[in-house]
Amino acid sequence: MSQTGLQLPQLERQPMEPRALKSIILSAITIACAITACIPLFSVLILLIYRGGKRLTLELFYTLPPGAFDAHGVGGFGNAILGTAFMVGIAGLISIPFGILAAVYLAELDPHSKISETARFCAKTMTGLPSIIAGVFAYAVVVLVMGHYSSWAGGIALSLLMIPTVMLTAEEAIKMVPNPMREAAYGMGCTPAQSLVKVILPVAMPGIITGVVLAVARAAGETAPLLFTALFSESWLSPNNPTASLAVLIYNWSSSPYENLIELAWAASLILVVLVFVLNIISRSMGGKTKL
């Protein structure tokens, strides 16, 4: 037993050894980063509740904004809530059928053809389209043609942002449908359309709805596409005329000299964020319970 030349390796933990120390420092930086990244969310939420909550009354939902000569007066933004809902509705009516039908083609009917590859690529490119460009486009195509600002122009601008989201998530959802389901449908003698409508789409539905709800949530908060398409209005919804929306209201009033309007902008933000978060939660819970 005289192996004097051989040294046993060190196996115990050595916290002060350089490489261990480096690990600890890097881990600490990572944790600090993660915590820092969470701060804005909580800061935004706390301020929304604190500043927006102060002005949160039921009245907000059914009254018109305080008039131009009465900036200190009470009032609400029922018209903006209605306007947002109406324009997101228009955008949904355009983008949901558009997105789902194209997704069916991409995922199921002809996934590898040139036109599918191209369309998929275009949709991916459109997800990165600046939202203000959607506004400029709708301005050029709708506002200039109709000759005035309207909720239709706003809805069309929003639909441009929803289409790629709906389409790409629906495509993923349809692709996730297990192949045995597909075989069963075709094996029974379904035409392609029948197997889609009766079997594949119902199975993919939770995933499709997830995408639709996410797209709606995003559209509800968009401001830039509405700035010069729907503009803003202080009166109740009239689709052919300029239309108010929560997002544009927040933008317009955020730089207002009147404390009253700024408070209303905070309250509008609170409502908008609650709406967006609820939609996000709905879409998450839908995604969780995919059938099969």
Binding site: K22, A37, S131, V136, T191, V197, L272, V273
Partner: protein
């Protein structure tokens, strides 16, 4: 003759019938519709480019290429140029990318490399995703009333003592580049984090095992094996994050100060193309100013298209199956 009818009429009892004309009509029209909308996707993008390009074209003879190198936007004298806006767009996006990219990648590592118990990991992931869900106009409002007052003392302190550095050469009097960049980095952080996570998750488990098997510490494995392996996807994530920052409108329109100035200072007001469009379009004079704005929109569209296409291509190549946004 052998045709469809035949299969329905041969002898022997069966309840099978060939599809009715109604079924066939429904099938044909359904498939036609899906094909039509697939084509429509392609046409839509082409139409957007065509339409905006077409509206910009009339202004081109008057403004020319020098539009891109002129620093004045003056509607009363009809002199237009977007050099400061181009600079501001790229500069602010670049700064936001450094900040948001660093945080985004670090968080992606934190989430994917088994640092956290499952529940904490899940919560962190959701918080980061909710960060992306908050509308940018709300971030703008928060920036004006929370962020600016918060960072002003610090900014002015830096200017006081380190004012000789070009980045700190002005005071932060209110709105300016720094608050805009901070909000912008918050907004691109979730994009970078999500795509980088996909890149990390796409690494086969055996690669990680091999690294640990060689006796690396966790961080050695991450820095020497995981990060280089995922680098393609992470690079794509950064490019897409950059693309998103370039096009972001509201937070900048509300926070950047909207001054046509060329500056390096973090604290000076600046402007971006998107902010210029948002602030000027509603009140623009019909005619040359609108044309100039369309020209600017066209420039923005081209820049973002190029950056986004490059990002999509990089991500698709680097992480198979991980090409989400």
């Amino acid at each position: 003759m052998a045709d469809n009818e035949f299969l329905g009429n041969v002898g022997g009892r069966t309840l099978s019938k060939p599809p009715t004309p109604g079924d066939i009509f429904f099938d044909k029209s359904f498939r036609f519709l899906t094909r039509a909308f697939t084509w429509a996707t392609i046409f839509l993008l082409a139409f957007i480019v065509y339409k905006i390009g077409g509206k910009a074209l009339p202004a081109f003879p008057d403004l020319g290429i020098k539009f891109l190198f002129t620093s004045v936007w003056n509607s009363s004298e009809n002199v237009y140029g977007i050099l400061p806006q181009i600079w501001g767009t790229i500069y602010s996006s670049f700064l936001a990318l450094i900040l948001g990219g660093f945080f985004g990648i670090t968080i992606a590592i934190f989430i994917t490399q088994d640092f956290l118990p499952y529940k904490v990991e899940f919560a962190l992931k959701n918080i980061i995703e909710l960060l992306a869900a908050i509308p940018s106009v709300v971030y703008g409002l928060w920036g004006i009333y929370v962020l600016v007052p918060l960072i002003r003392p610090l900014a002015n302190f830096l200017h006081e003592y380190l004012g000789w550095i070009p980045f700190f050469s002005t005071r932060l009097s209110g709105l300016g580049l720094l608050p805009a960049v901070l909000v912008l980095s918050i907004m691109i952080l979730p994009t970078v984090a999500a795509i980088s996570q996909d890149a990390f998750k796409a690494i086969p488990h055996k690669t990680k095992e091999a690294a640990f098997g060689m006796g690396t510490t966790r961080w050695e494995a991450i820095l020497r094996v995981m990060l280089p392996t995922a680098s393609g996807g992470i690079f794509g994530a950064l490019v897409l994050g950059f693309g998103r920052a370039l096009g972001e409108t509201m937070a900048l329109a509300m926070l950047v100060g909207s001054m046509s100035t060329l500056t390096l200072s973090f604290f000076a007001p600046a402007d971006t193309i998107a902010a210029l469009l948002a602030n000027t379009f509603p009140e623009a004079n019909v005619g040359l100013e609108t044309g100039a704005l369309m020209y600017a929109a066209c420039v923005l569209l081209l820049i973002t298209l190029i950056v986004n296409i490059a990002g999509a291509v990089i991500v698709t190549k680097a992480t198979p199956g991980g090409d989400r946004r």
